[in-house]
């Protein structure tokens, strides 16, 4: 197990280098330069000043050299300085150690995604199981409709509708940010309640599409399993249906879901740009949006790399989960 884990972690290194190499090339070879943005803000900037700036950032060097320099620093977890006027290190922008944990951008995005994965799992599982055990019933048909709508739902539209209904029409839930203006003056219990209320809509929105996909997957996976001989055996020896489904069938039906969860990580991270933008959440997605608008190369690369690492870790966790759940693979 430990050897396997170690081997997998080692395998991640060339993949990660591949990802950063491709991203770096695409980003740096796109027409235009970061100094274009500066020139837009300050039309009086002289060509000499621009050149000096490009030299300062190392943008005048061949792209392979630039990538080499970048990689050398990243090994030490240093993503360089942001191009923006504050010149802060990229790492500090993503993971500001001076801030409390709850205020750090990476932590915010990570927690939101983790929470929505959790919500997806605990809601999609029972929905999918019930659909499978009651195939072609009215319930099954209703959930199928829900699943198709879920697949087609633009998450940002769902967000707007929920904001309109729960936030503006009824004023039940806050629609922006992660805490209220008067947060600091609240007693602890109310602070927790306040944070929870702010999370309801963003997490529901980010979980919605995954919910549809996973419950559908759970259904088909369960349908396949309950047709197997060993399920018939379990029923034949007189086990109650509940035991058959939740003890014998569920374990095997869960296997493909674990893989699916791992694969859904890049989609969730990508989606965070959209819902952090809508709900005004100060996470990594919001920062990424700002960084591409100003062509802040180091920041763009830093966030892409962190996103890729999270994706690879998600895949690794899925594989480990698979191993724990399936003794046949563990034996290999």
């Amino acid at each position: 197990m430990i050897t396997y884990l170690f081997k997998r972690l080692l395998e991640m290194v060339p993949t990660l280098i591949g990802i950063t190499l491709i991203s770096f090339f695409i980003i740096h070879l796109a027409p235009g330069k970061p100094t274009d943005v500066l020139a837009e803000l300050n039309p009086k900037i002289t060509p000499e000043a621009r050149e000096k700036l490009e030299k300062y950032y190392g943008l005048d060097k061949p792209i392979m050299v630039q990538y080499g320099m970048w990689l050398k620093r990243v090994v030490k977890f240093d993503f360089g300085e942001s191009f923006s006027t504050d010149r802060r290190p990229v790492m500090e922008k993503i993971w500001d150690t001076k801030q409390p944990l709850l205020e750090r951008r990476l932590f915010i995005t990570f927690m939101l995604n983790l929470l929505s994965l959790f919500i997806i799992l605990i809601i999609a599982m029972p929905i999918g199981i019930a659909s499978a055990t009651h195939q072609y019933s009215l319930y099954d048909k209703i959930t199928t409709v829900f699943v198709f709508i879920g697949f087609a739902m633009p998450s940002f539209w769902l967000a707007l509708l929920l904001m309109m209904y729960f936030g503006i029409h009824h004023n039940w839930l806050p629609i922006s940010g992660l805490k209220s203006m008067n947060y600091e003056s609240l007693p602890l219990l109310e602070q927790i309640w306040d944070r929870g209320r702010h999370l309801i809509l963003p997490i529901f929105v980010s979980a919605f599409t995954g919910l549809a996909a996973d419950s559908r997957f759970m259904r088909s996976s369960m349908l396949e399993v309950i047709r197997q001989d060993y399920i018939t055996t379990a029923r034949a020896k007189g086990l109650p249906e509940r035991t058959v489904i939740y003890k014998h069938a569920l374990k095997n039906a869960l296997l493909p879901i674990i893989t699916l969860m791992g694969l859904s990580v890049p989609g969730l991270i990508g989606g965070s740009v959209i819902f952090e933008n809508i709900f005004g959440i100060p996470g990594m997605g919001q920062l990424f949006y700002a960084s591409v608008m100003t062509r802040d190369y180091p920041l763009v690369m830093g966030i892409l790399t962190v996103g890729a690492i999270l994706t690879l870790l998600g895949n690794l966790l899925a594989d480990l989960g698979y191993m724990i759940a399936d003794p046949r693979i563990r034996a290999k």
């Binding site: 991203s23 539209w157 890049p266 062509r295």
Partner: protein, 285 residues
């Protein structure tokens, strides 16, 4: 025998799936709307009318007006052109690349296949939406750029699909026979194997159109996609967000249009999948 021809069998199965037929009708209707947009839209989509800004749906403007007094219905009718063309061109690019890469990978196998598969794994680990966002923001948000970038970042699924088909088909008798008759690689790849692996590619392309439409509308919504004054469903929704408290119609209608379009493509795609899968034929006939 003609009653059992592939086409008839396919049509017979597809026809039974009422949801897929409904989806197909909606898709055709959208094409029609996009084609005749200038003739059916009640007003010019870019006509600014400052006396009638943010008017709710009513007799003069069936779906209301936006913050510049432009007719929302007309803008949505023209917006359908964007969604359809982005969907088709992006998927066309992705499908072509995917077919080519998958064919090479599956047919030649060996080290080339290993490199290509590795590359695909890498591409799948990049949060694609981040990359699309960055590239479009850098090269500028024209409709062609959007189509190309979405196409270039979504071919991996097709490539895997085609590769799997090639791996399973290339040792079959009909391919070996063609080889024995002296057919060249190109002829075997395109004339013999590719034609036999088209149906799953077709299904994934139809489903891909739905995905591309969602990505385009998300980009436009974020302000990095189709730029006003060119109307797209996504950028009308941006106005909806900006005027959320006063103009519900700017959010509700374009979003509904995206939902219905994407839903229809998905229904058609699922229907095609079921109808094209020979393993399901004969069941329930």
């Amino acid at each position: 025998m003609s009653d059992y021809s592939i086409k008839k069998l396919f049509w017979k199965r597809f026809k039974r799936n009422k949801l897929a037929i409904a989806g197909g009708v909606v898709v055709l209707a959208l094409f029609f709307i996009a084609a005749v947009a200038p003739f059916i839209s009640p007003l010019n989509p870019n006509d600014i009318d400052r006396r009638h800004i943010l008017e709710p749906p009513g007799a003069g403007h069936l779906l209301g007006t936006d913050d510049l007094g432009r007719d929302v219905l007309s803008r949505m009718i023209y917006g359908s052109r964007i969604s359809l063309s982005v969907g088709f061109v992006a998927v066309g690019i992705a499908t072509l690349i995917g077919m080519l890469v998958g064919a090479i990978s599956g047919y030649y196998a060996g080290w080339l296949d290993r490199i290509i598969m590795r590359f695909i794994d890498i591409m799948l680990s990049i949060p694609t939406f981040f990359l699309i966002l960055a590239v479009i923001a850098f090269i500028g948000p024209s409709i062609w750029n959007i189509m190309i970038v979405i196409g270039l970042t979504s071919w991996m699924g097709v490539a895997r699909l085609v590769r799997a088909e090639f791996l399973s088909l290339k040792e079959r008798e009909f391919v070996l026979a063609a080889k024995a008759l002296g057919a060249g690689d190109m002829r075997i790849i395109f004339g013999h194997i590719m034609v036999n692996s088209l149906s799953p590619v077709f299904v994934s392309a139809v489903l891909g159109v739905a995905g591309a439409i969602l990505v385009e509308s998300a980009l436009s919504f974020l302000g990095i996609g189709i730029q006003p004054p060119i109307p797209s469903w996504g950028n009308i929704l941006t106005l909806g967000k900006d005027n959320l408290e006063i103009a519900w119609w700017l959010s509700v209608f374009p979003g509904l249009a995206i939902l219905i379009t994407v839903l229809s493509y998905n229904l058609v795609g699922e229907g095609l999948r079921d109808a094209l899968d020979p393993r399901l034929w004969g069941s329930g006939e």
